[in-house]
């Protein structure tokens, strides 16, 4: 029986978030809080592996109390258990401090049921780093496997897994020892609509919530802002380009203008000629 833990995060939907032009900060109230889209695929993959091999799926998040909603979303997808660490001491954590805090929670989860596999999304859409997953793997001394776009096999008996790892121009087929950590690409699966029983369970679900004091062997200097080697020194809106020239004329005339400016770059079309 596999014990798979998916690490997830609630994020503002950066597609609709607005910038406060006076303070240059993100107006988080302008965007709905959602389950990080990559993490939905992480949970879905965990659920698929559970259905294939048998086991349980736990999800873990760090965040303020409203992040319970993101855990409920994971229960809808098919997770069995939800854990959340929530404490002011975690606030302002960068990727290093985040992986430390999540690791402390994973160690506690691990005490009851040893973990075979941890799955994270490729990255979050608010932080855009992808650094937390490998950080957790290093701290738990598991092999990190990033950019996973296919899980071929998980063999608990013989303690190995085979996966595809996406590269810029193809993929690697990797065999890894268990336990290990995957961070997964979106293309790994499609998240279907949740079945009704999951929705009902999710609506009533209350995750286990831990504060710092509930975790063991915590070095508080490694938490939150204090434990973060990086700081954001300033933010500014991206430079506004001055804008291009809008072409005049009839559609035919516009097309001709484009044609001549593109064909002017003759060197781009050399191969066409040579190819014949």
């Amino acid at each position: 029986m596999l014990h798979i833990v998916a690490c997830i995060k609630q994020v503002p939907d950066t597609k609709v978030i607005k910038l406060n032009p006076k303070t240059n900060t993100m107006d988080r109230t302008s965007a709905p809080a959602i389950l990080n889209p990559y993490d939905a695929h992480a949970v879905e993959e965990a659920v698929r592996l559970k259905n294939k091999y048998g086991g349980i799926v736990s999800v873990l998040t760090m965040g303020p109390p409203p992040a319970v909603k993101a855990i409920r979303k994971c229960i809808e997808i098919g997770a069995d258990e939800g854990y959340m660490i929530s404490d002011r001491a975690f606030a302002g954590a960068d990727t290093l401090a985040t992986s430390y805090a999540l690791t402390k929670a994973l160690e506690k989860i691990q005490k009851d049921t040893p973990i075979d596999l941890i799955i994270c999304g490729k990255m979050t859409i608010d932080g855009d780093t992808g650094q937390v997953g490998p950080g957790i793997a290093r701290r738990l001394d598991m092999p990190p496997l990033t950019n996973v776009n296919k899980v071929v096999e998980v063999n608990k008996e013989e303690q190995f897994a085979i996966i595809h790892r996406k590269l810029e121009d193809g993929h690697e087929v990797i065999q890894t020892a268990l336990p290990c950590l995957f961070s997964v690409e979106k293309e790994i699966n499609e998240v279907p609509f949740s079945p009704l029983p999951h929705m009902i369970k999710a609506a009533r679900y209350k995750p286990t919530i831990w504060a710092v004091s509930d975790l063991e062997d915590v070095d508080k200097t490694q938490l939150g802002l204090k434990g973060s080697p990086t700081i954001v020194s300033k933010v500014w809106p991206p430079e506004k380009p001055k804008g291009g020239e809008i072409l005049d004329g009839s559609p035919q005339e516009k097309v001709e203008q484009i044609l001549s400016m593109v064909l002017e770059k003759k060197e781009l079309f050399q191969q066409h000629k040579e190819g014949v």
Partner: protein, 340 residues
């Protein structure tokens, strides 16, 4: 931590199938500027199997010295083996800055190294600067889906590390007269201690031009309305011999595979010509293509943000203009072939 012990700028040199990744040369170009401003040396850190001979080219591209781990154990990139080499080298020689390409390899490696060295790592940097006096690295990157730029500092830990997006920095002109110091390194990593094994590497056949290498990209967006509508993007790309790009919306609508996505959560591209067709120009798309040589936008909404970020714009219906472009280019390029 005594920060003054840490001196020099390093670039992790990524080698794939015996070829130096272009981003590594770009980072030597950028690293050279940082090192000169600080008046410190620039070094490459190269790991692989039978890679030592590539050092010459690193000197030509600006490195003062190159640390090389050349061993069959490093034939394939693996986090655990490469990480050990980077950590050992950094602990011994104490660089103030290490830069990595923000590639699958570079991001994976840097994340693991940063955790073990307990230092700061800035992801997907697009602007770098250094304070000449303090040596503080100013690593700036788009955040919140490209809605803002943020400058990240790592004040109390060394080395300061960043992954840097490919195609953003510029390699310098290679100077073949330039040489440097080659420093052979070795580390005891045994196969039986490694928990992962690369069974196979599958390079996808290049039936279509790779978007991150293409000179011409034709990209389509939400305004095309459907997968059928998107088909003419493929057609125009084919006529021009270019690659197909897409906005996030088009990818999320499943009109095209996300390998083609240009932007913050996709690929950064710098083709010579970029067609943005029926793409509104959300900031998250713009950060991925704004350094293209010639940007031509077609959109029926005259207020679309894309017109602020293009060189030439056509306000018009893509369904009218694009078929005309396909026909015109087909005629023009076909004719040239006949006479050529």
């Amino acid at each position: 931590m005594d920060l003054s012990q840490y001196v020099g700028v390093w670039v992790f040199i990524e080698v794939n199938d015996g070829v130096i990744a272009p981003v590594s040369l770009e980072l030597l170009g950028e690293g050279r500027k940082l090192a000169d401003k600080r008046n410190v040396p620039l070094a490459g850190l190269m790991i692989g199997n039978q890679v030592t001979h590539l050092s010459q080219s690193l000197f030509h591209y600006g490195a003062d010295s190159v640390y090389v781990y050349d061993d069959p154990i490093f034939k394939y990139y693996r986090t655990e083996s490469y990480m050990k080499a980077v950590i050992a080298c950094a602990e011994e020689h104490k660089p103030e800055i290490i830069l990595y390409g923000a590639t699958a390899t570079g991001k994976d490696l840097a994340s693991a190294v940063a955790t073990d060295l307990e230092t700061g790592l800035t992801a997907d940097t697009t602007v770098l600067d250094v304070d000449a006096e303090s040596g503080l690295l100013l690593a700036s990157r788009p955040a919140f889906g490209g809605n803002i730029m943020a400058t990240i500092l790592c004040k109390k830990h060394r080395p300061q590390m960043a992954t840097v997006r490919p195609k953003v920095m510029r390699a310098c002109e290679p100077d073949t007269a330039k040489s440097g110091e080659l420093i052979q390194k070795s580390i005891d990593v045994k196969e039986e201690d490694l928990r992962t094994k690369v069974l196979e590497i599958v390079r996808e056949t290049k039936k279509v031009a790779r978007i991150d290498e293409a000179d011409i990209i034709v990209a389509g967006g939400k305004g095309l309305g459907s997968k059928d509508g998107f088909a003419m993007i493929h057609e125009l790309a084919k006529v021009l011999g270019g690659a197909v790009g897409a906005s996030r919306d088009a990818v999320e609508a499943n009109w095209i595979d996300h390998h083609h996505q240009v932007g913050q959560t996709g690929v950064t591209v710098t083709p010579k010509i970029y067609f943005a067709i029926a793409i509104s120009g959300a900031i998250q798309h713009l950060v991925g293509m704004q350094n293209s040589g010639l940007i031509i936008a077609i959109n029926k909404d005259p207020d679309a943000a894309i017109f602020q970020s293009c060189h030439y714009g056509i306000v018009g219906d893509a369904f009218e203009i694009v078929p005309m472009l396909i026909e015109a280019f087909d005629k023009a390029l076909h004719k040239e072939v006949q006479y050529g």
